[in-house]
Each structure stands twice: as C-alpha cells, then as structure tokens.
C-alpha cells in the first residue's frame, strides 16, 4: 500500500508526453487551486500517480436527505482536457433524479455547457448543488424526478433511506 504505482496503473493513462505538458499541467494547477480553496464538504485527489484519474468525495450536505452520506465519485479527465469535460460517475449508490442507474451524473456543465474556463472545483460545486436542489425537469431517472415533483416528502424519505443503507 505504500507504493501505489506497484499496482500497475503507473503511466498507462498518460497518452503522450505532449498531453502531459498540456492537460497534465492544467490538472496540476487545478489541484493546487483546489487545495488552497477547497469547496465546502468536497475533496478530491488523483489515484496513485495518474493525474487523469481522480476520486472525489462529497459529504451529503446537512438539511438534505443526503445528510450523513459519504459519496465517492470517479472522475476521468480526457487527454484533451480542458477542451473536453471530465467524465464524472458516482461510485456510491445515490437516489437522485439527475443520476442514472449506473451512477452517471447528468449535468449540463459536464456536457454542452462545458467551457475550458471551468475547473474541477467548479465541477464539484456544481455536483454539490444538485444535492441541495435536484433538477427534476432535466432528469436522468424520470421515475425519481416524477416522485420529487409529486410527493417530495416521500422522495426525501426514500433518498434518506438510500443514504443510510448505501452511502454511510
């Protein structure tokens, strides 16, 4: 466990030396920024020595049905980052209308709304904001979105139960 590179993920995802100087440098810069000004309840860092594969953790914000949960997210930066958005997937099960059954987050920011000016800190903040206010009009899980609109109390109950069972 002391030497994470021994697990063989070493430099596999480093596409070429040029991209290291491009996306890699940019990711390193964002890491510095994240460490200086971390968004509330969020943290993130690269797995092993692979700068393009990160894990982020979001603590369920108080006052939401996700309170008390520890949500892990898998973040993969493409080789042409920041021109393409990172891919963010939940590693922890969550009951949320903007997250599909395989954990993929549906956020405009991570799709068409992506801009190279955005950073990982902003992405984390955007994901944290859907914990506080889900967007049922742009759902990834229509069933949950429907329940959210029709019976929010029931929705929150179920979401809290999911948090208790799968996100502790």
């Amino acid at each position: 466990m002391n030497n994470a590179s021994s697990s063989g993920r070493g430099g596999r995802s480093w596409p070429s030396t040029t991209s290291v100087s491009g996306s890699g440098k940019r990711i390193q810069k964002e890491m510095g920024e994240l460490h200086l000004f971390p968004p509330a309840d969020c943290s993130a860092g690269p797995i092993g020595d692979n700068l393009h594969h990160w894990i982020a953790t979001i603590i369920g914000p108080p006052g939401t049905p996700y309170e008390g949960g520890i949500f892990f997210l898998d973040i993969r930066f493409p080789g042409d980052y920041p021109f393409k958005p990172p891919k963010v997937v939940f590693k922890t099960r969550i009951y949320h209308c903007n997250v599909d059954s395989s954990g993929t987050v549906n956020l405009d920011v991570l799709k068409d709304g992506w801009s190279p000016a955005l950073t990982i800190s902003k992405v984390l903040l955007a994901i944290r904001s859907i914990f506080l206010s889900p967007d049922p009009y742009n759902p990834q899980a229509p069933g949950i979105a429907h329940l959210y609109l029709v019976d929010k109390t029931k929705h929150d109950e179920i979401a809290a139960e999911w948090t208790l069972r799968f996100a502790r």
Binding site: M1, N2, A4, S7, R9, M31, L34, H35, L36, P38, S43, A44, G45, P46, I47, G48, D49, W54, I55, T57, I59, I70, F72, D74, V89, F90, K91, T92, R93, Y95, D100, S101, S102, G103, Q140, A141, P142, G143, I144, H146, L147, I158, E161, W162, R165, F166, A167, R168
Partner: protein
C-alpha cells in the same frame, strides 16, 4: 507453606483446606500433575482411519476413512480389564487390553461424501451445546477458473462445497448447505468461524461473509450476507425501489444485483469496470475517509492530507479482499483484508494487510488498523482472550493458555519481544495469527502452561501436523520441584526400520482424561502408526 506432590497428601489437603475464593477450579486442576498419560501402547492395532480430533467436551472421537468418503465416530471410554494374580499393578497389560477397541467404541460409520466429493479432513467444527458437528465435503479445485459472475480474479473455484450438520450422537444429518462454484478456505477451519450458534463462512471468490445460524432444531438458517450489501434487506430494498429508477438506458445490466443469499447461481451479474462500490467497501472507504477528514481541522491541510493518505491509495483500498474473519462477539467481526496475491499464499507476511472491526448490527466499521499497528498489538497482548471468543457453554476451553490469562505464556511472549531486532516486524508477526482459526486449540490440561512446561516446537495446544523427532517430548512440572513428569514418545519403541525418511506426527489429546493418541506417518501411502498414551 508445605505442599506435597503426593496424591494422597493432596487429597487430605483438599479435605482440610478451602482454596482462596474463585480458585477452586485451578486448585482441582492441579491434580492433573499427578494424573498423567505416562504409559504408552506403541503401534496399536487399529482401523486405518485418519483421526481428526476429540470434541472439546471429550464425548466423541472424530475420524475419517482413508478414502475420505466416510465419517467414523467413536466414543472414548476408559480402559477396563481384569487380571488374574495378586499384584496386578506390576503386570503388563494383556494383549486383549492393548487393542484400540478397549479405549474407543465405534458409534457409527456413515458415508458422507458422494462419488465425486471428498471429505475435507482438515475441517471440523463442534457445537457443544447441541452436540452437533459441522463437516465439509467438496469436489476438486479448479485453479484457472474464469472469473465470471462477479467472482474475483485469481481465486480458484470449487464446483461444489457442501457443509453437513450432523448430530454426533446418532449420525443423523440435520441439514446441509451447498456453495456452488465458490471458494472457501477449509484448511484448519480458516474460512469458517463458529461462535455460539452463529457461523461466519467466508466466500473468497465472491467476497461475501455469509452469516448463518444453527437453530436448536438443527437447521442452518441464513441470517445475512455481508459483501455486496450490508444489511439483510438492502437488496430487497434496492429492488423494490428500482421501480422509480426507470432507467434511461434499459440495457444497463449491472444494476440488477446478484442474489448471494441463496448460494445458487452467481453468474447472472456482469460487473463492468465502472461499477458501484460494494456495500462493505463503501463502509470501509467511508470509515477511512472520515478518520482522516476528522483528524485534521484546517481545511487546506485536510485536503492535502486526504490526497496523500487516501486518494493516492484509493484503488488499493477498493481492491482489498476479505481474507479471514472471526467473531469477537455476537455482533462484531474481526476482518482481515489484503491484496488478492496474498489471499492464498503461505507467506502472507510479505503482503500488505489490514485489520478491521465491523459491527453487523450498525452495519459499520468501528476500527481499522494496518497489520503492524502497535495499538492493535497492545490490545492483543493484554486481551488475547477476547480474540479467542470462547463460546459460553464450554468450560474447559477457558483454560487454554493465552498470554492474557497465563503468566508463563506472557513471559514467553515478552522474551520473544525483547529478543526481536525490529519491534514493527515483531508486531507484524504477532498480529499475523489474527484472526484466529476457530477451535484450533486443544483444551487438554497437559497443555496448560501453569501446570506443565514443554517444547512448543515439538508439541502444542494448536492442532497441527509436526515433523516428528526421535526424542521423547518431555512434560515438566511448572511448579516446584520442576521435575520431569511424563514423556510422550511418538516413535515406535525400537527404531522404525525406515531410517532417514521424514515422519509427520500429530497428537490428539483428550480434553479431560489423561488419554492421548499420537499418529505418525511416513508417507501418505503407508499405513500410519498409532500410539495410545494413557495413565495406567
């Protein structure tokens, strides 16, 4: 105070003296110093079985046929014989009395394994309260089994492992539990732990801890499976709520969770590269995360600390495998985690490993240690008995020497500790024995370190095969006058005839009587030599 070692003097003393409060049991056990298995019948004529062990209450002797198909259960009985003449004590035992049958009565012989199965002769667990035994049979091991249906790569597969719950009194099979295409480490009971009426079975291939209960009526009942999910109804909950999850992508297979409960088919699940963490891994990672998160107060330092201690190792933590499990009490499990490489290797010491304590009721981890954590070692040194988790019903099991209940054992440990060059290496080695295998130590009073001293390299309470020596094994009184009390000589009286060949000995001590069996084997093909040691 004057203490005689003469047994008659001791009996007198017992009449007139009351031992100090709560010491009467220890006082009574001192009589074992006078009653020792010092007489040996070498090479007893006996059925060619492989003798497994005496049950901890001493009521049964368990043995298996050489072809590993049948279970033969004996009742140990005390030798009785008559002799003509006056000074019987000086007579040699008659030939008739020297037979195996004089000591053991066969209760029954039953076929346990079907044609393509074999009895796992290293596996046997006994539940004293109900006098039921748990046996295992299995088909051959497939080493290069494909890792299908959520199985872990690199773990061999066994087509069928069957656990048989048998009432030892009459050999009635009460219940059976089958695991298909799974791998459970059965050697020395490693993969199965019995605590009171609860069983923990570790499926290495599917990384699931199956908790079962042995009911009074003799049924094996699934209580919960810890692995993909933590609580017994998590899976049901997930399925009943997935109606709301009318997924946008219907072809998404991996949402359908695998049914581990009824160990039937495991291959209906395809785990893709990017899947959710299993229930137990989520709990483990979140416990590690919170430990670091709460440790550091400053926000910026907190993030850096997490990066260095947590994220960098995230995949390694996520890839950790459950190696071994034991109960600490009815609600807490001690789980050893490690990498897949070390799971079946003999020298697991080289592989990184962790200990975690998991509360089943709360479905959360309460502690997490590295395998060289001094904190855990100090707990282990002072409270070893708590790691042995004795079942409530058996009394004599409480007298098994450990360094938390026996000053001599503790002294031995101190001695090794002081001699070791590196403390962290010593801690690693000491903790290497955790979690303890279930029922692996003999409660025989002759292994009680407060009564006898013996060479632990040659013999010990732990049930293991040992390379045998030609020298007799000496049992020396622990207290004054520290004299040699008896010897156990595993070899035949006069040279074995086969010089130089490696011989393996195993010893089965009766938990109460001064009676022991030693078995010596040269090769697997040859019939073994069985000696009976007892007090004449």
């Amino acid at each position: 105070m004057f203490r005689s070692n003469n047994i008659v003097a001791r009996i007198f003393e017992r009449q007139i003296r009351t031992p100090r409060p709560a010491t009467s049991v220890h006082f009574a056990r001192q009589f074992y110093e006078n009653l020792v298995p010092s007489y040996t019948i070498y090479d007893v004529e006996c059925p060619d079985h492989s003798f497994r062990k005496f049950t901890d209450d001493g009521l049964y002797l368990i043995s298996f046929s050489r072809n590993h198909q049948e279970l033969i259960v004996y009742r140990p009985s005390w030798l009785s014989f008559s002799c003509k003449g006056q000074d019987c004590d000086n007579h040699y035992l008659s030939v008739g009395a020297k037979r195996f049958e004089s000591f053991f009565t066969e209760l029954y012989c039953m076929s346990l394994a079907s044609s393509n199965e074999l009895i796992c002769k290293d596996f046997f667990l006994y539940m004293e309260r109900n006098q039921v035994g748990l046996f295992a049979t299995s088909t051959a091991q497939i080493h290069d089994a494909p890792a299908t249906g959520g199985a872990v790569k690199g773990v061999p597969s066994i087509e069928m492992i069957t656990f048989h719950l048998i009432r030892l009194e009459d050999g009635v099979i009460l219940d059976e539990k089958v695991f298909h295409n799974d791998f459970i480490n059965l050697a020395h009971n490693t993969g199965v732990f019995l605590y009171d009426d609860l069983l923990a079975i570790v499926s290495l291939r599917y990384q699931t801890i199956h908790i079962l209960q042995i009911r009074d009526h003799g049924n094996l009942v699934d209580v919960r499976a810890i692995g993909a999910f933590c609580r017994e109804d998590d899976e049901l909950f997930l399925n009943s709520n997935s109606q709301f999850m009318v997924a946008s992508d219907r072809n998404n297979q991996h949402e359908s969770p695998v049914n581990h409960v009824e160990n039937t088919m495991h291959d209906n699940l395809v785990i893709p590269d990017n899947s959710f963490l299993t229930g137990i891994k989520q709990r483990l990672l979140s416990f590690i995360f919170q430990g670091i998160w709460n440790e550091e107060k400053d926000q910026s330092l907190k993030i850096q600390c997490l990066k260095k201690k947590f994220y960098i190792h995230f995949q390694d933590y996520a890839d950790l495998m459950i190696w071994k499990v034991q109960f600490l009490d009815r609600h807490h499990l001690l789980i050893k985690f490690g990498s897949v490489d070390g799971v079946l290797s003999r020298n697991a010491d080289h592989h990184p490993a962790f200990f975690a304590i998991y509360s089943m009721e709360a479905a959360e981890f309460v502690a997490f240690y590295q395998n060289y954590a001094e904190e855990l070692y100090f707990l282990f040194e002072q409270f070893e008995d708590h790691f042995h988790a004795p079942s409530k019903s058996s009394l004599n099991v409480n007298f098994i020497s450990s360094h938390s209940n026996n000053i001599h054992t503790r002294e031995q440990l101190r001695c090794i500790k002081n001699k070791s060059s590196s403390f962290s290496q010593f801690v690693k080695k000491a903790l290497g024995s955790l979690p303890f295998p279930c029922q692996s130590r003999s409660p025989s009073p002759y292994f009680d370190q407060s009564l006898f001293r013996f060479d632990e390299k040659l013999i010990s309470a732990t049930d293991r095969h040992r390379q045998s020596t030609d020298h007799p094994i000496k049992f020396i009184l622990r207290r004054q006058p520290k004299i040699l009390k008896f010897k156990i000589k595993p070899g035949p009286e006069r040279g074995s005839g086969i010089g130089g060949a490696k011989k393996i000995s195993s010893f089965l001590f009766h938990p109460i009587l001064p009676l022991a069996i030693s078995v010596q084997q040269t090769s697997f093909l040859q019939q073994s030599v069985v000696n009976i040691h007892f007090r004449r």
